[in-house]
């Protein structure tokens, strides 16, 4: 049976972006690709929703953007994690783990 591909849940997008950027600066397309690949093609980033999310995160100071040259030598906007972004990631990750553990507990007992 073919597995369905759920869309990426909106509340977790910023956390996944922050986590993906811990490895180094990436442009938007690479971020979307990395998330999709790392989740075995299960999580599909809504490409349109990615950029407003990136801009919002930049505004909040979690990431910084800088123009650079891509692999095919085109001008691309690279995003990198800031110290505030690392703190935000730790906080979101802790929330996520707490909540998913709570749901798991309910599934086990209910």
């Amino acid at each position: 049976m073919a597995q369905s591909k759920p869309n990426l849940l909106q509340g977790t997008l910023s956390m996944l972006i922050l986590r993906t950027l811990t490895r180094g600066p990436l442009h938007g397309y690479e971020i979307a690709q990395r998330i999709q690949q790392a989740s075995d093609e299960i999580l599909k980033v809504e490409e349109g929703s990615l950029y407003p999310a990136l801009y919002r995160m930049e505004e909040q100071g979690w990431i910084e953007a800088e123009w650079g040259a891509s692999q095919n030598n085109r001008r691309a906007k690279y995003y990198k994690l800031t110290q505030a972004g690392r703190q935000q990631l730790a906080s979101e990750r802790s929330n996520w783990e707490r909540l998913s553990e709570a749901v798991r507990r309910v599934l086990r007992t209910a």
Binding site: Q3, L16, P52, S70
Partner: protein, 241 residues
Amino acid sequence: MKPIKTILRNLSLFNRSGAHEHEIEEELRFHLDMRAHDNLAAGMTPEEARADAIRRFGDYENVKEACREISKEKLEGVMNTKVIKGIIWVIVGLGLILQIAGSEDNSTAGLGFILIAVLGRLFIFLKEQMVDTIDSRTNKGIIWFILGCGLMLRFFSGHHAIMNVGIFLIIIGILWRVLIFLRKTQPDQQRIKTAEQIMICIPGVDTIAPEYYFIEEPLSQVPPHDQQGRTPVERLISDEE
């Protein structure tokens, strides 16, 4: 030279909105081109590759507009802070002129101007560097420490200069507290985020914010778990480490 530089920088910010719009378009087009390029490599015809890239992207104009709005908000925030900093430097300049070249009365007014400017700059510094990054409990602890020091210096010191330092510390403490109060009256991003996550953790339930709910499969199947029982998100988090 710094006041002139600040004013020039503020003036240059007025011309930035056009540049931002151009940069947003360039970034979004880059994404579409990369997707089309990968599609071509996967065996699609150029027309199919382009059409698929556009389809996957969604409403290009809406996305561009959303980015533009966010960018504008950021620009206005930066500009407000820069303008305030520019005004502070003008006040400092006036204060120094009155202090150096003025009569005795003007000299006192000059000192007042400088004090106002220093407090204004301190206010911005606290907002940018401290209040937003330190947690609430630590902030409150620091405020009580500063207020305590200020009160001790103000009431238990015999020296006039040290008493003034005490008053200065009390003002800093009060300013800091006001900033935390203002921050609390704004929407709490962290709480909103948690609420979103709670809603998305209950797929299958008709939540009050259905836009956060995309999965239609039964809860037991979604999201798919791996052999260790991890969801895709959990797997991504741990695999990236």
